[in-house]
C-alpha cells in the first residue's frame, strides 16, 4: 500500500510538469499579454518594450517556463497585472469554489444515489421511466441554459433566491448554483447507480441476504448498495476535480467570485500569470482526487490489493 502510494506520487511528477508546460504554451499562444494593458489604444512601443523586459517576456518561452516553475516552488505565483498577488486572488477564490463544489457533491450524493436506488429497484416501472427521461433532459440541456433558466424563474420572476450571489458567497445563496453545477453529474450518478443496483439486485449474495431473513431495508443498504456504490464513488471522486474547474459557466451566471470567475477574467484580460497559476492548482487537485479515488477502491472492495 505504502509503496503503491509512493509510486503513484512519483508518477504524478511528469504529469504535473507536462500539464503545466502545456498550459504555459497555450497561454502564450493566446496573444500578446502587453497589448491588453494599454486599453483600447495601441501601446507605445517604448512602454511595451519596458513592460516586456520587466515581466521577462522578452526571454524565450522555455526560459520563462523555468523561471515561472522556480517561482511556483517557492510559493510565488506572480502578480496579476493589476498588481494583486495571484496567491491573494487564490485565497479569496478557492474557499468560495470549494464551498460551491461541496454543495454540488452533496446534491450528487444525496439526490443522485437515492434516485438511482429507487429506479434501479423498480426497473421498467413508471418511476424508472420518468426519472430516466428527466436525466436525459438534464444531460442534453447545457448548464448555461438550466442555470439562466433557474436564475430567471427563481431569482427574477419568483424572487425566491437572489439572482446574484454576494461576494462573501454564504452557503444559503450557493444552494441553487450548486444544484445547477451538479445537475449534469447528478444525472450521470443517477444512471450509474441505477444500472449498478439493477445488475447487483440479482446477485447471489443478495439472495443469500434475503434468505437470512434480513429486513428489506438492510438487504438493500448493507448488501446491495454497498456493492453497487463502487463505480459511483469513482465517478464522484474524479468529478470533484472537474467540478472545481468546470464551474466557470455557473460562476459567471450567478456572479460568484470563485475560481471560475478569476479564470474567466484572466483569460479575458490575457493575464497569463492568473490563468497558469489557477490551472496549476486545479491540476494538483485533480491528481490528488484521482489518487484518493484509487485508494478508496481498496477500502470499498477488499478484493483489490495494491502492491
Amino acid at each position: 500500500m505504502g509503496r503503491y502510494v509512493i509510486r503513484r506520487l512519483l508518477q504524478m511528477i511528469p504529469v504535473f510538469f507536462g500539464t503545466t508546460l502545456l498550459i504555459f504554451l497555450m497561454v502564450n499562444v493566446m496573444g500578446d499579454p502587453i497589448a491588453g494593458l494599454c486599453g483600447d489604444r495601441r501601446c507605445d512601443p517604448a512602454t511595451a518594450a519596458q513592460l516586456r523586459a520587466e515581466f521577462g517576456l522578452d526571454k524565450p518561452v522555455w526560459q520563462q517556463y523555468l523561471t515561472y516553475m522556480g517561482n511556483v516552488f517557492t510559493g510565488d505565483f506572480g502578480t496579476a497585472f493589476n498588481g494583486q498577488k495571484v496567491t491573494e486572488l487564490m485565497a479569496t477564490a478557492f474557499p468560495i469554489t470549494i464551498r460551491l463544489t461541496l454543495i454540488a457533491i452533496v446534491f450528487e450524493i444525496v439526490i443522485g444515489i437515492s434516485l438511482g436506488v429507487v429506479t434501479g429497484l423498480r426497473r421498467g416501472r413508471p418511476v424508472d421511466t420518468t426519472v430516466l427521461v428527466l436525466t436525459l433532459v438534464v444531460i442534453s440541456v447545457p448548464t448555461f441554459v438550466t442555470g439562466l433558466l433557474l436564475q430567471l424563474v427563481l431569482g427574477v420572476e419568483w424572487g425566491i433566491i437572489k439572482p446574484s450571489v454576494s461576494p462573501q458567497a454564504p452557503v444559503n445563496e450557493l444552494l441553487v448554483p450548486g444544484l445547477v453545477l451538479a445537475s449534469v453529474s447528478l444525472a450521470y450518478v443517477t444512471r450509474l447507480t441505477r444500472t449498478s443496483i439493477a445488475e447487483n439486485a440479482r446477485a447471489d449474495y443478495v439472495r443469500t441476504a434475503t434468505a437470512k431473513g434480513l429486513p428489506r431495508r438492510r438487504v438493500v443498504v448493507r448488501h446491495l448498495l454497498r456493492n453497487s456504490l463502487i463505480p459511483v464513488v469513482t465517478f464522484i471522486g474524479t468529478d470533484v476535480g472537474a467540478l472545481m474547474g468546470g464551474a466557470i459557466v455557473t460562476e459567471r451566471i450567478f456572479n460568484i467570485h470563485g475560481v471560475g470567475f478569476q479564470l474567466y477574467q484572466g483569460i479575458l484580460r490575457q493575464n497569463s500569470q492568473t490563468v497558469v497559476g489557477f490551472v496549476t492548482i486545479l491540476v494538483l487537485v485533480f491528481l490528488a482526487a484521482n489518487l484518493i479515488v484509487d485508494l478508496l477502491y481498496a477500502v470499498l472492495d477488499p478484493r483489490i490489493r495494491y502492491a
Binding site: Y205, R207, A211, G213, R218, R222, N227
Partner: protein, 352 residues
C-alpha cells in the same frame, strides 16, 4: 396424489410446540415464470414432506424444478416474473403462502435456513465473514456487535474452520472453497433452524472436500435434529446421507422412495436411466449408458408424460395421459412403504 410417507425413525420435534405431523409439507405446488416467450411452468404439482431429523434428497437434472421448489419454500423466488398460481406450503401446520411478508421474514433464517451452491458468489464479497455470520444474531436476536462477533467465532469453530478467532475478520475471497462452504453452513446453522435446505451444497467443490462437507452437514443435522432437504443431481452424494429420495423431472416428482431401495429397484425409467449412467468399476471398458435427448423446454412441455420423448419404454398412452404418482407395490400386491412412481409402466420397470 400421494405424499411421501414417514420412512425413518426420528425423535419428535425438539422445540416445545404441539404441532403433530410433518415439519414441512408441500402440497400440489405450482410455480410458473412469465417470460417474453410465454409461461414457463417450472413446477407442476409437487408434493413432499419432511419430518424433524429426516433428510429428503431431491434429485433431478438442471431445470427439473428442484431449486425453484426450494426457493418457493424459502420465499425467495423473484416475483415477478415468478408466480405461484396454486399450492400450499405448510410449515408446522401453517400455510406459509398465506403469511405476511414480515411473518415469512421471521421464519427465514430463524426456522428455515438455506445453503447455496456457489459459496463465493453467495457470500457478500465486501463484508467480512464475521460480519455476515454475526448479522444473523444482530437482526434476529438483537445482539450487540461484540456479542455477535463472539457468536460468529463460535460458529466457525463448530464447522471446524481452523483458527476461527483469527479469521473472523477475513473476507470470503480469502478462504478456500471448502472453507467458504463451511461458512455458508455455519450461517444456515446460526439460529439452529428446524429445517435446512441445501441447494447443491457440494457441486462447486472437489471430491475430497465434498465428502468432508457432507459429513459435517450430516453430523450437525443429527446433533440438532433438524429436517434437511438436500437438493442435488449427484446420486453418489445422496446414498450416504438421505433417508428418502424424490426424483424430479420437468417440474414433477416422478419417483419417491426410501433411499436404499431406489438403487436396488428403480420404479421409473428416468431413475433407472440415471442409475445406469453412473460409471461402475465392474463394467470398466464398456460404453457408459446415457439418457438420450435433452431435458424438455419448460415453455413447451411434451404432452402426456414429459419424459416420453426420451423414454425407452414409451407407448402411445405415454404421449396422451399424464401418469399420476401412484403407490408402488410388490408383485403380490403388498405395500412398499414410501414408494411411488409416476409411470404408466412402473410394474414393468420395477419387476420386469
Amino acid at each position: 396424489m400421494t405424499t411421501i410417507d414417514k420412512t425413518a425413525e426420528v425423535p419428535s420435534a425438539r422445540s416445545g410446540d404441539d404441532h403433530v405431523g410433518p415439519l414441512l409439507e408441500v402440497r400440489d405446488l405450482h410455480v410458473e415464470f412469465h417470460t417474453r416467450d410465454g409461461v414457463a411452468k417450472a413446477v407442476n404439482g409437487v408434493n413432499y414432506s419432511v419430518n424433524a431429523g429426516e433428510t429428503l434428497a431431491v434429485l433431478g437434472e438442471s431445470g427439473s424444478g428442484k431449486s425453484v421448489t426450494a426457493q418457493a419454500v424459502m420465499g425467495i423466488l423473484d416475483m415477478p416474473p415468478g408466480r405461484i398460481p396454486q399450492g400450499e406450503i405448510f410449515f408446522r401446520g401453517q400455510d406459509m403462502l398465506k403469511m405476511s411478508y414480515e411473518e415469512r421474514r421471521s421464519i427465514r433464517g430463524q426456522k428455515i435456513a438455506m445453503i447455496f451452491q456457489d459459496a463465493l458468489s453467495s457470500l457478500n464479497p465486501v463484508l467480512t465473514v464475521g460480519y455476515q455470520l454475526g448479522e444473523m444474531f444482530r437482526v434476529h436476536q438483537g445482539l450487540s456487535k461484540k456479542e455477535a462477533r463472539a457468536k460468529a467465532i463460535g460458529l466457525m469453530d463448530q464447522v471446524k474452520i481452523p483458527a476461527a478467532a483469527a479469521r473472523v475478520s477475513d473476507y470470503p475471497h480469502q478462504f478456500s472453497g471448502g472453507m467458504r462452504q463451511r461458512i455458508m453452513i455455519a450461517m444456515a446453522l446460526a439460529l439452529e433452524p428446524d429445517l435446512i435446505i441445501a441447494d447443491e451444497p457440494t457441486t462447486a467443490l472437489d471430491v475430497t472436500v465434498q465428502a468432508q462437507v457432507m459429513d459435517l452437514l450430516a453430523e450437525l443435522q443429527r446433533e440438532y435434529n433438524m429436517g434437511l432437504i438436500l437438493i442435488t443431481h449427484d446420486l453418489g452424494v445422496v446414498a450416504d446421507v438421505a433417508d428418502k429420495i424424490a426424483v424430479m423431472y420437468a417440474g414433477r416428482i416422478v419417483e419417491t422412495s426410501p433411499v436404499h431401495e431406489i438403487y436396488k429397484r428403480p420404479a421409473h425409467p428416468y431413475t433407472k436411466g440415471l442409475l445406469e449412467s453412473i460409471p461402475r468399476l465392474d463394467q470398466k471398458g464398456q460404453e457408459l449408458f446415457a439418457i438420450k435427448g435433452l431435458p424438455p423446454n419448460l415453455l413447451n412441455v411434451p404432452s402426456g408424460c414429459a419424459f416420453n420423448p426420451r423414454c425407452v419404454m414409451a407407448q402411445d398412452i405415454c404421449r396422451t395421459d399424464i401418469p399420476p404418482l401412484r403407490p408402488v407395490t410388490e408383485r403380490d400386491g403388498t405395500d412398499l412403504v414410501g414408494r411411488g412412481s409416476a409411470c404408466h409402466f412402473w410394474k414393468e420397470t420395477i419387476h420386469g
